[in-house]
């Protein structure tokens, strides 16, 4: 649905986005994660045809953002970082205006605006002036504006900024409910948000892609955690770790006993999933297996390691 190839944006003295490539499948929610100033907004602005890339291509639903901008714009809904609102307009009037410029047929303008307002919980402020709304309401009017023409792709720049906790939860549910019918790219620097909503993510730092992939792939480390009990109960930590050390690709085994069960951590260097082998060994030894998980790295650790590494590189 979205195909980005070597997208680059240069300003006079800086490179804001440097050869960014990724692709998004139809119906997915992709998190665009990065520290402030990493180039998230610039990338989104290029995807929405707000500014042309200096180099590289991007296409949305098969239409090139530079060559066929009108076709692309018809198919995207965009919520910029500051919601693009006219404070002197009433909510309903604003939504109808947006529906018209997005090309919604005149007969459907009122109905679509009301639907979008209802979906984003702003129906109750329909005839209020936008300038008089609270920040949470404004943000939701911004979201209603983005979905009003039922676009195939939604591009949301920090959609939950400025919300209270309840609104954050509601908005997350709303965005999740929009996935499937819409392909969603959302940028954020809030990790919980990505965890709660996104299926895959792109981590961007200093204008470059640090890593990308599905949530599961990125956070899985190819190791395992086991919890076992030993029937005769007379083994040491060395005895417990020894059978695993000989497996090819294993570079470290630690066994600890915290009272009841033994916990064994196995680290590997290969990409192979060793869990079946580990289970066989445990059973072969006659131990009881209570738990066998692949070890995973938390998103926070991953994010910090990727973005601080970038910072060090820049210093050098």
């Amino acid at each position: 649905m979205i195909q980005v190839d070597g997208l680059t944006k240069r300003y006079a003295h800086t490179v804001a986005v440097d050869h960014v490539s990724f692709s998004v499948e139809k119906g997915q929610i992709v998190g665009f994660l990065g520290p402030n100033g990493a180039g998230k907004t610039t990338t989104m602005r290029m995807l929405t045809c707000f500014m042309p890339p200096s180099e590289g291509t991007a296409s949305i639903a098969g239409f090139d953002v530079v060559k066929q901008p009108l076709e692309v714009k018809k198919r995207i809904g965009y919520l910029p970082e500051t919601p693009p609102l006219y404070p002197d307009m009433e909510v309903g009037e604003y939504l109808q205006f947006v529906a018209r410029i997005k090309g919604v047929p005149e007969k459907e303008v009122l109905q679509r605006s009301q639907e979008a307002a209802a979906k984003c919980f702003v129906k109750d402020v329909w005839s209020k002036l936008i300038g008089k709304l609270s920040k949470g309401y404004r943000q939701r009017v911004g979201l209603a504006q983005a979905i009003i023409h039922n676009p195939e792709v939604l591009i949301l720049d920090e959609p939950t900024s400025g919300f209270d906790p309840k609104q954050i939860l509601e908005t997350r549910d709303l965005i999740k409910s929009l996935a499937g019918a819409h392909t969603i790219v959302l940028s954020t620097h809030i990790l919980q948000e990505v965890k709660a909503m996104c299926e895959s993510l792109v981590i961007i730092n200093k204008g470059k892609i640090a890593t990308s992939g599905t949530m599961e792939d990125l956070t899985r480390r190819n190791g395992a955690v086991m919890e076992v009990s030993v029937p005769d109960g007379a083994l040491t930590a060395e005895d417990l770790s020894a059978p695993f050390s000989s497996i090819e690709g294993v570079n470290g085994v630690t066994a600890t006993n915290d009272g009841g069960l033994w916990r064994i951590d196995v680290d590997t260097v290969t990409s192979e999933d060793l869990r079946p082998k580990l289970a066989q060994i445990v059973l072969g030894q006659g131990w009881n297996l209570y738990r066998l998980d692949s070890a995973s790295v938390s998103l926070d650790e991953l994010f910090l390691s990727l973005t601080t590494l970038g910072a060090e590189e820049v210093k050098q």
Binding site: T42, M51, K73, Y78, L85, P87, V98, R100, E106
Partner: protein, 255 residues
């Protein structure tokens, strides 16, 4: 075409949703009313003097009242137009709504044409209010309506051209005050180039006299519809719209 109408309607509504429209209409009505009242006062006094024996002179409402009135209106434009155009793009840019317009399936020319038409509509409603005063002339006198209509057409064309230039200056900045002041200075310069006609004739003074806004308004006010002047205002409007289009394009590149 529908997009142009949508944008134009939005612009026109924006004037009336903010105090700008009411302040301008009020101020314009007050100034126009004062001009009208004083011109009619002099006209009445002159006509009484004309009744004295030995001092006969032809009295003509069109020449003595309407012509001066419309001339003054042209000067008022210098002050009104910057206030109408300053917000057109500068406000959208500072509020971030430019992002909405530029990421909607609109062509640049639809956006700027819509905005210009909206501003011309606002200006036309100012002119319409001034027309209320003239009802009295028709009620108590017999002015010729044709030169009056031509005069108003001239004011409208002149305003449209000035609005296009003002819109361009609004599109190059985020600051409304900067947009308004630069528009005022540009229009004032174009206005006073008229003085060049009294200087030594050479190429520079002739060209500058020709581009003077005032110069081309004069024949309209006299009730003379000259294709040359219509073309002048049309080309200034086109220039303003064209420059705005280029400015929007560069905005995309500079971000």
């Amino acid at each position: 075409m529908r997009n142009v109408v949508t944008i134009a309607r939005k612009e026109l509504n924006a004037y009336f949703q903010s105090p700008i429209a009411y302040v301008l209409i009020g101020a314009y009505a007050a100034m126009f009313g004062y001009f009208f009242w004083s011109l009619v006062y002099f006209f009445v006094r002159a006509s009484m003097q004309a009744q004295m024996p030995g001092r006969t002179m032809p009295m003509n409402l069109n020449e003595l009242v309407i012509r001066n009135l419309l001339g003054n209106c042209g000067v008022l434009c210098l002050f009104m137009i910057p206030m109408l155009t300053m917000r057109l793009f500068a406000e959208e840019k500072s509020r971030g709504t430019m992002e909405l317009l530029l990421t909607s399936p609109l062509k640049d020319w639809e956006i700027l044409l819509g905005k210009w038409v909206g501003a011309v509509g606002m200006y036309a409603s100012l002119l319409a209010f001034s027309g209320l005063n003239l009802i009295f002339l028709f009620a108590y006198g017999k002015p010729d309506w044709k030169p009056l209509a031509v005069g108003y057409l001239g004011l409208l064309l002149q305003g449209a051209a000035m609005l296009a230039l003002g819109m361009f200056l609004s599109s190059v900045t985020q600051n409304q005050i900067a947009a308004a002041f630069s528009t005022f200075v540009l229009l004032l310069m174009l206005w006073v180039f008229e003085w060049m006609s009294n200087m030594d004739q050479n190429v520079v003074t002739e060209v500058l006299t020709y581009v003077s806004l005032l110069r081309h308004n004069e024949s309209f006010i006299k009730g003379v519809l000259d294709l040359k002047d219509v073309l002048y205002y049309a080309s200034v409007s086109f220039l303003g719209l064209f420059l705005t289009a280029r400015s929007l394009e560069s905005l995309r590149y500079r971000g």
